[in-house]
């Protein structure tokens, strides 16, 4: 059986798993809790210390379930997901789905990580502080910049951190009111536009020119002395590297504007080009993308921020520092700091995993990561462009870095099936597929990012699947209409998500609205 045949015979785990409340049986217990530590006081005396009206009189309505039944339930739910560990996850473009080495899980699962309280005195936390500090040192080399922060909890949070630093910088220069605009591009990550608005900025978006690069003339027209900063993702989500990036930073710096680099798409750049060489003042990296920490269904994550030393005073507080007298310590002395954006110091286990990954690969290894990401992407691109109905955004610009935004425009024209239909179908082959970030300007888009974790065979198999789905659209439309049929559940009725009379965000809300199976009460 070849790869495609195997994948076509795929059937996902389908447990028809009940909601945990349906498994609840009175009296069952999952774990037991310690009793009193001694007999020094009676239960009445203890409860008597609380103001009567603040005591909960009822028991919280939680499920009652014994341990095996609990484990079995969650194992079933777990099987109803396709993580990187379970599929050729190159279809989730821009997410950089790569292998998260298991040795990192072992390290992050050590009691030396798990049981550290964030407020412990620094002399009991030298290990974890050293990891944080040394990871920062690694990123200084990777970005070419001087100071770092591990505080942000994700990519969008990284943008928030940078936007906050920008605001603090201009406040210090006395131009906070005047500098109220930020410039970004259409194909940068949507957070580059959305997040600064939360920080009170007006955002101007630059569209691409006919070659797919941000239009530099538009940029010149947008740039003014009201501009506080520019936020650019490079390469952009199309996979195109903006070769004129230094012209942009030069123009921005001429007006005193800060340059922020969104390096969510760094997987193809390691060792090749950096924040510093492109003349940016700040950047952030997604440790849960390029740097291998697992995605966890949507976090926890980290958006590691790096900046030039002139911006140190404005960084989120605290910074991790080192000196021979004190060892590693948290420095809170930043009176001009932009503030604090996260509880405590950051998502340290994620930092640990990124540290371990970089220290396993080294400079040569990181360079090889990017080289192979580029190779994989271009190999995959050639295969996909040979598929009937598929085309590439900006076809006149053939060169791409680590991902490509494609289009099923022709497929849609010929068969009436488009990207949303392919997405439904592909679940039957045991893998994922994602379209695009908004705005959806590329018609019927899909974005494929074959990171360095995937073998040639993996890429061949995935492209064979896309080719097969294309064939089905042209030759077996009924099959496409009814997909997915081998996934965890069948077609979900979307009517139940937008109408207040119908939607239920919790089980108790469901039970108030319905009896049995969606029978309105």
């Amino acid at each position: 059986m070849n790869g495609l045949t195997r994948m076509k015979k795929f059937h996902q785990a389908r447990w028809n798993e009940p909601i945990i409340y349906e498994l609840s049986e009175p009296g069952q217990r999952g774990v037991l809790v310690p009793g009193p530590c001694c007999e020094c006081a009676s239960k009445e005396e203890i409860l008597g210390t609380l103001p009567e009206h603040m005591v909960r009189k009822d028991l919280a309505n939680l499920p009652e379930i014994a341990q095996l039944q609990l484990v079995r339930h969650y194992n079933h739910l777990s099987q109803e997901n396709l993580g990187v560990d379970g599929n050729i996850d190159i279809g989730q473009g821009t997410c950089t789905m790569k292998y998260s080495p298991k040795v990192h899980e072992r390290l992050a699962g050590s009691p030396k990580m798990l049981h550290m309280h964030p407020l412990q005195p620094a002399n009991t936390a030298q290990g974890v502080l050293e990891i944080m500090y040394k990871t920062g040192e690694l990123f200084k080399a990777i970005s070419g910049l001087d100071v770092f922060s591990v505080q942000p909890g994700g990519g969008s949070h990284g943008v928030l951190a940078l936007a906050s630093v920008v605001r603090a910088y201009w406040r210090d220069k006395g131009e906070e009111e005047k500098r109220d605009e930020i410039i970004t591009t259409l194909f940068s990550h949507p957070a580059d536009a959305a997040v600064p608005i939360v920080k009170g900025y007006k955002v101007t978006i630059i569209q691409p020119d006919s070659e797919g690069y941000p239009d530099i003339e538009a940029f010149k027209a947008a740039l003014s002395d009201r501009t506080a900063a520019i936020f650019f993702t490079n390469p952009e989500d199309t996979g195109i590297f903006n070769v004129r990036i230094k012209e942009f930073t030069k123009l921005a710096h001429e007006k005193g504007v800060l340059c922020c680099y969104d390096q969510a798409n760094a997987n193809g750049l390691l060792g090749i080009t950096r924040t510093a060489e492109a003349d940016f003042d700040m950047s952030f990296f997604n440790l849960h993308k390029t740097f291998s920490a697992p995605h966890g269904c949507g976090g926890p994550a980290t958006g590691m921020v790096a900046a030039r030393k002139e911006l140190r005073p404005y960084m989120p507080v605290p910074l991790v520092e080192y000196c021979p007298e004190k060892g590693y310590y948290l420095d809170f002395d930043l009176p001009k700091s932009c503030g604090k954006i996260k509880s405590f110091w950051g998502v340290i286990p994620v930092v640990l995993k990124a540290y371990s990954w970089i220290m396993t690969l080294g400079a040569d290894g990181l360079r090889e990561v990017s080289r192979v990401a580029i190779l994989n992407n271009n190999y995959c691109m050639k295969k996909i462009l040979a598929i009937k109905g598929a085309s590439m955004s900006f076809p006149n610009h053939p060169s791409r870095i680590e991902q490509v935004r494609y289009s099923w425009e022709k497929l849609k024209k010929d068969t009436g099936f488009g990207t949303a239909d392919v997405q439904r179908c592909i679940a039957d082959f045991g893998t994922h597929y994602w379209s695009s970030h908004e705005p959806f300007v590329i018609p019927e888009p899909f974005t494929i990012e074959p990171s360095e974790s995937y073998s040639k065979k993996d890429i061949d198999d995935y492209c064979a699947v896309l080719e097969e789905i294309s064939r089905m659209c042209y030759e077996e439309p009924e099959a496409v209409e009814h997909a997915p049929s081998n996934s965890t559940v069948h077609h979900i009725d979307h009517d139940y998500f937008d109408d207040p009379a119908k939607y239920s965000i919790t089980w108790r809300s469901y039970n108030r609205k319905y009896k049995g199976y969606f029978e309105p009460k």
Binding site: A222, H437, F440, D495
Partner: protein, 371 residues
């Protein structure tokens, strides 16, 4: 569902014989003399093929014969006949059909025709119920039409299957056919109709939604109003996006006319060119502003809206005070195209070339090229 269905049998007959449209009896006669055959019917048939199966349990309302009843009956979808038109159909027949369908309680109207047909349907239906246009006319300017008959058919099918959740307002353009015949495109915004949003099936689950057009329009309006400076005059051009400004202000402006706002109060309504000039002269040049939106499928900022915004008027306003506002969906549809300033004065058009920021959301602008 109750669906209205109508075909404009004379739409599209000019094209094949190079007559560009069939507004008016004379032209129509000429077209027939030249051997033109009704094309609208075949276009409608293409669309019908796609939704025929889905249509089985729904109720159709149509005028008899060539205006739709015949095609439906031939395809097993026996409709309720709303009236029986004479052999030579006219614009009045279209309007009458729509009127009767609305009375019968249809929830949507599917029609095949061109710009003229859309305008006639719009004059009666307005934004009351959703419509789907099957393109059958010559080069169509109205956005209420799907790209091709097949696409229209798919939209109708989705509608019948209850899959349409979102609607957007689409422009109806009034095309001056005489001018068109003389190779000049003169179209003006006539109004809007509600059409299904065919982008709705894509979602970016990682980064959140940009929201529906309606909400976005209100955001754009709110942001624009927030930016209005005390004691300065703002002319508001035609269009649904600009009209939303009045919703935000709690005042009533005109959808198709030019209104003026000073200090968030209505300073002039549906103004003529002379009235506009007079009002502008009350304010020093740097305190005059013009708020316009992008109209039409080619992205016109001037030339499809108001004649009152003459070159003289436009020259009275500093270039940096011309504020363009538009939905991001509009700008996405124009992706890769430059916006057009067709003021009637080529010198002015040349001056207006270059980049303008277009407000597309709260705090959000996109740099667009006017070329």
């Amino acid at each position: 569902m109750k669906i209205g269905f109508l075909i404009n049998p004379v739409a599209g007959m000019g094209g094949k014989v190079a007559l560009k449209g069939t507004d008016g009896e004379d032209i129509l006669r000429r077209a027939i003399e030249l051997g033109a055959v009704p094309a609208a019917n075949s276009r409608a048939e293409i669309a019908l093929a796609l939704f025929r199966e889905a249509a089985s349990y729904h109720y159709f309302y149509a005028p008899a014969g060539e205006m739709g009843g015949k095609l439906l009956s031939e395809n097993g979808l026996k409709p309720e006949i709303v009236f029986d038109p004479a052999e030579k159909t006219t614009a009045d027949d279209t309007k009458r059909a729509v009127s009767l369908m609305l009375e019968a309680g249809v929830e949507a109207i599917v029609f095949a025709g061109g710009d003229g047909t859309a305008r006639d349907v719009c004059s009666v239906a307005g934004e009351k119920i959703p419509v789907i246009g099957i393109p059958a006319g010559v080069k169509i300017h109205s956005a209420v039409y799907a790209k091709r008959p097949k696409d229209a058919g798919m939209l109708v099918k989705n509608l019948l299957q209850g899959k349409v959740k979102r609607y957007v307002l689409a422009e109806v353009m009034d095309l001056d056919e005489d001018a068109f015949r003389n190779n000049a495109v003169r179209a003006e915004l006539y109004g809007y109709m509600k059409v299904p949003d065919d982008r709705e099936f894509m979602q970016d689950r990682k980064s959140g939604s940009s929201g529906s057009d309606t909400n976005e329009t209100l955001d754009i309006a709110a942001f624009t109003v927030n930016g209005m400076i005390e004691d300065e005059i703002y002319l508001i051009g035609s269009g649904s996006t600009t009209n939303a400004i009045f919703q935000t202000l709690g005042k009533e402006g005109t959808l198709l006319g030019v209104d003026a706002v000073v200090n968030r109060e209505l300073a002039g309504k549906d103004l003529m060119e002379s009235e506009i000039k007079k009002l502008l002269l009350d304010h020093p040049k740097e305190k005059r502003h013009l708020v316009i939106t992008v109209i039409g499928g080619q992205g016109h900022i001037f030339g499809r809206g108001n004649q009152q915004l003459s070159p003289d008027v436009i020259r009275m306003i500093p270039r940096e005070n011309i504020l363009i506002i538009a939905n991001s969906s509009k700008m996405s549809a124009l992706f890769g195209k430059t916006l057009i300033a067709d003021t009637g004065d080529p010198e002015l058009d040349e001056e207006l070339k270059g980049y303008f920021p277009v407000i597309t959301g709260f705090g959000k602008k996109i740099m667009a090229k006017v070329g």
